[in-house]
Subunit: 432 residues, 2 copies
């Protein structure tokens, strides 16, 4: 494919994408395929000769779409949101074309520097303490990780490395594995101190945990993967109080802040704690400016060596929405969750199972777990809306998370009508 053909096919793809987004609610949100369905639709080997683009794009509808769970359908209420916005997609197209691998400052200075500034922008939106910001001479700073799992692993490894060094500085005769076997990580039911857990969007009391961690010289990592985005709104910011006690903090801009996956934003107070644990410096990655102390080489902050230019999509999103636009997105989705909550509360057959603070509603039919399992099975089978369950205190609970950007009140109302219709059928059958 030469550049001229790319101009043509690229524009066709823009229309394909726009059409897909525009007509998403007409598709079943959940696929109706059996495991292995795709094997039967495509060859078992790659073609030897090139195929035409027309054949490939035709196969997208024939092979791919039947097996897609449509995360950006306004009827998708499962898991937590995966962010999606047009500005992010445009930023990602540009990132794909520039295609730099930003493992060091020299490998593409803009890639590193825009990331540092974007993490400062977001840190300020979140009103993080100054100590987490890079500025031009700070000891802290932010980094984009792929996922919250990686951010948590990084903080765990950095904490472990720091603890081992501290013990060895006092007891130089102790071996690393001896110390390692004595280290303890304290967690809640979800690992680490969590603001907005996945099952029920629950919040740990970090203003209580924080001082204890500081007194005991323990590394405190706060994971606010989903809820973190909401802290850009003043009315939610109090939930982040106590972050000043933490050593590291992370939230997924790719969940609720309109920046397409992957973009898990993480801040540390002492960048030396990260770099000290992970420094990788072969000659072919060294560069002149490295020794000046002025530059950030992000390869020391993460497990992978290579990294994409992900700050571009943040830049596009933050500028095209502005803080006001981002806050409006969060508030609208919380409002939709409240609307759904009130629908549930008005129906005596149902109960709300956890306080609705943000965009997640945990609810169930009063009655047995089996009854609720049947209801969910029926919802999944019908494929008009998509939910997943959770366990709360031994009870089987349905989770409805406001996910897609285009979700409106009418979708929520339609979802509730659908749930009550299936409930009616279920109770008619006398299965409770």
């Amino acid at each position: 494919m030469d550049t001229e053909e790319f101009r043509r096919r690229g524009k066709e793809m823009v229309d394909f994408v726009a059409d897909y987004m525009e007509n998403l609610e007409e598709r079943h949100v959940y696929p109706d395929v059996e495991p292995g369905y795709l094997h039967t639709l495509i060859p078992t080997e790659a073609p030897v000769e090139p195929e035409s683009y027309e054949d490939i794009i035709k196969d997208v509808e024939r092979v791919i779409m039947p097996g897609i769970t449509h995360w950006h359908s306004p009827y998708f209420y499962a898991y937590f949101p995966a962010a999606s916005s047009y500005p992010a997609m445009l930023g990602d197209m540009l990132s794909g074309a520039i295609g730099c691998i930003g493992f060091s400052w020299a490998a593409s200075p803009a890639c590193t520097e825009l990331e540092t500034v974007m993490l400062d922008w977001l840190g300020k939106m979140l009103q993080l303490p100054e100590s987490f910001l890079a500025g031009t001479s700070g000891h802290g700073g932010g980094v984009i990780q792929g996922t919250a799992s990686e951010a948590t692993l990084m903080s765990l490894l950095a904490a472990r490395c720091k603890a081992i060094r501290r013990v060895q500085s006092i007891n130089p005769e102790k071996s690393e594995s001896e110390i390692l076997s004595k280290l303890v990580a304290y967690t809640s039911e979800q690992f680490c101190a969590t603001l907005g857990t996945t099952p029920s969007c629950a919040f740990d009391h970090i203003t209580e945990l924080g001082p204890i961690c500081n007194e005991e010289n323990m590394w405190m990592h706060i994971d606010a993967a989903y809820a973190g985005s909401a802290f850009i709104c003043p009315e939610f910011r109090p939930l982040l109080n106590g972050v000043e006690f933490a050593d590291s903090f992370n939230m997924n801009a790719h969940k609720w802040l309109l920046v397409n996956f992957d973009c898990s934003t993480m801040w540390v107070k002492q960048r030396q704690d990260m770099i000290g644990a992970f420094k990788v410096d072969p000659l072919y990655l060294k560069h002149e400016n490295q020794e000046s102390g002025l530059v950030t080489d992000y390869r020391h902050w993460q497990i992978p060596l290579g990294r994409r230019f992900r700050a571009l999509k943040m830049w596009f999103v933050f500028r095209m929405y502005g803080l006001n636009g981002l806050q409006a997105h969060i508030r609208k989705q919380v409002q939709l969750a409240k609307e759904f909550e009130s629908l549930v509360r008005a129906d005596k057959r149902f109960e709300i199972c956890a306080e609705v603070i943000m965009g997640l509603v945990c609810f169930r039919l009063k009655g047995s777990n089996e009854l609720n399992q049947k209801l969910l099975k029926s919802i999944t089978k019908n494929r008009e809306i998509h939910l997943v369950p959770c366990h709360l205190s031994g009870r089987f609970v349905l989770r409805l998370a406001i996910c897609a950007r285009p979700t409106e009140s009418r979708h929520i109302q339609q979802a509730w009508r659908h749930i009550t219709q299936l409930t009616f059928e279920l109770l008619q059958d006398g299965c409770h």
Copy 2:
């Protein structure tokens, strides 16, 4: 930005990307900025109100481009290639729009199944032993990791978990940390058994290492991050002989196989070894088909929970190039390296420092390390071509890797003219 505006801006971005790629060789390949340059060009905080798209796209040229190292310029010869092709970019646009998070089969069956089939396609192109393929009922199979570092970490963790369980099955009284402290990982100068190292593209003798690993019941991981792509050509495939002894193998399709970053392809013989070490199963991620044994949930195969639909770009590339087209790309780049090698060999002032097997030429001026450091400094300062160095047996060596897809003979010839011109100036100054 609504869908109509996205149609317009998206098409403008396609042209922006096409223009960028088409005129890339007119830009200096290496930027001329000082650390911190970007801070002075943009505000210290995100805007409160939305900005216009025009302002943002203008800033791409003003703020971003001056700080870009252009990895896809035909004058970029540093590190190893970062793959880039138009079909991959189109596949990525589609992936961004679908925007599913493929942590489980149910989260988007097509995302999981296309990945399994694409890894089988590529495994067959590489003539991997049948035991590494998934097929419809195999015990092995492939997965896309972000980078080779992650693939190596995964194999290390899987190997560690397997070894600990084996020892505990014989000595149940031993603690995990006790066993851990006795475990040994054998590596070459580059970690693990490597086919095509980064400094010099050297090859370990895996037909010798393999049987020893198997006899001693040691996990063998082979990293062929760069060179692996070349094994799709019959003339290079013998270098992969011995892979039949390995437990895991990985190569980066995002380096040399025209699939944009990230796409580090990894295969294991026993998927249970991976899954056993990493299984994560909260209720909200469970799905009906999971218990059937028929489905793959890739979250068990990797550190992150979330994952993008990266198999799409592989599918687009493999089909639009065909095996023949992919082989032609590899062969052309190897040929260009040979051409550069012969230019170096014809100049008595220079020496070749490692056998040129693939797309990398290691060379230096006969003389001191200092002289070669000066030459490289002069090359970097002039910004017409971009190289990085390596150390080979204590000698400072220049690496020229054929990287960008559009690189042609005339670029290589021009690069050599430039190097000899700078050499002439350097030797004139009498600094040797």
